[in-house]
């Protein structure tokens, strides 16, 4: 069956360092992958989308890579700040029989940036 895996353990880093989060998937070849940020008690907020033909995407201090051979995406936050502390979710479109694609989310990884 198709699976999306994110590290369930929280990632603790010091302010100013680069945070790297991982999203692995199996039994699937998605056309794209998305990353979202979720703060406690709030809905997720879209950050970045990377397509299968893109190796890397950047937005300000964020960088996402997509390795379709390894079936893995890495999400980097450079010069991290305490305000970056949140849970980060990856999402892939999963094909349903009947022709629909629905986004399926990993369980997310909590990032804690210490001052």
């Amino acid at each position: 069956s198709q699976k999306i895996e994110q590290n369930s353990e929280a990632l603790n880093i010091q302010e100013g360092k680069t945070a790297t989060l991982t999203c692995n998937y199996t039994n699937y070849s998605p056309a794209y992958l998305q990353w979202y940020r979720q703060d406690p008690g709030r809905g997720p907020v879209f950050l970045l989308l990377i397509r299968e033909n893109e190796k890397e995407k950047r937005k300000e201090r964020l960088k996402v890579t997509f390795d379709t051979t390894l079936k893995q995406s890495l999400f980097h936050i450079t010069a991290s700040q305490p305000a970056d502390s949140a849970t980060y979710l990856c999402a892939l479109p999963i094909y349903l029989s009947g022709g629909s694609y629905i986004p399926t989310f990993g369980r997310g990884t909590s990032l804690i940036v210490h001052p």
Binding site: S8, Q34, Y36, G41, R42, G43, P44, V45, F46, L49, L89, A91, P93, L96, G98, S100, Y101, I102, P103, T104, F105, G106, R107, G108
Partner: protein
């Protein structure tokens, strides 16, 4: 500013009650989704709709139904609330999968407690 709104932030209901959760989006999106989110289990899709009056079951539809009479509004109904339906409920909307800009926009969530 684009928005997805949900009718309540917090809701307390009794076992056996019929519960309505309302979601409205102002972006003219075709797709709308209902998720529930529980600690350790991540976001799980209950139902989604890709057009008015159309609905598809997600991963955990049991005990729920939905209604989409207008494009901007998607309602989740708990026919007879049970304590195991205590959860955070999140509504989202998006453009179709075929769109290159189909990220999901989430509402603020409704934290439902069933006593």
């Amino acid at each position: 500013d684009v928005k997805v709104t949900q009718s309540s932030r917090y809701l307390v209901k009794r076992t056996g009650e019929k519960v309505f959760l309302e979601c409205v989006q102002d972006m003219d999106h075709e797709n709308m989704f209902w998720y529930r989110q529980d600690p350790g289990l991540g976001l799980r899709l209950i139902y989604f709709s890709y057009d008015v009056k159309m609905k598809e079951k997600g991963d955990i539809p049991e005990g729920y139904s939905v209604s989409r009479e207008k494009k901007e509004r998607f309602s989740l109904i708990l026919e007879s609330a049970s304590t195991n339906q205590t959860s955070m409920y999140l509504c989202a909307s998006s453009l179709p999968y075929s769109s290159p800009y189909n990220e999901q926009f989430f509402g603020p969530g409704t934290r439902l407690t069933v006593l």
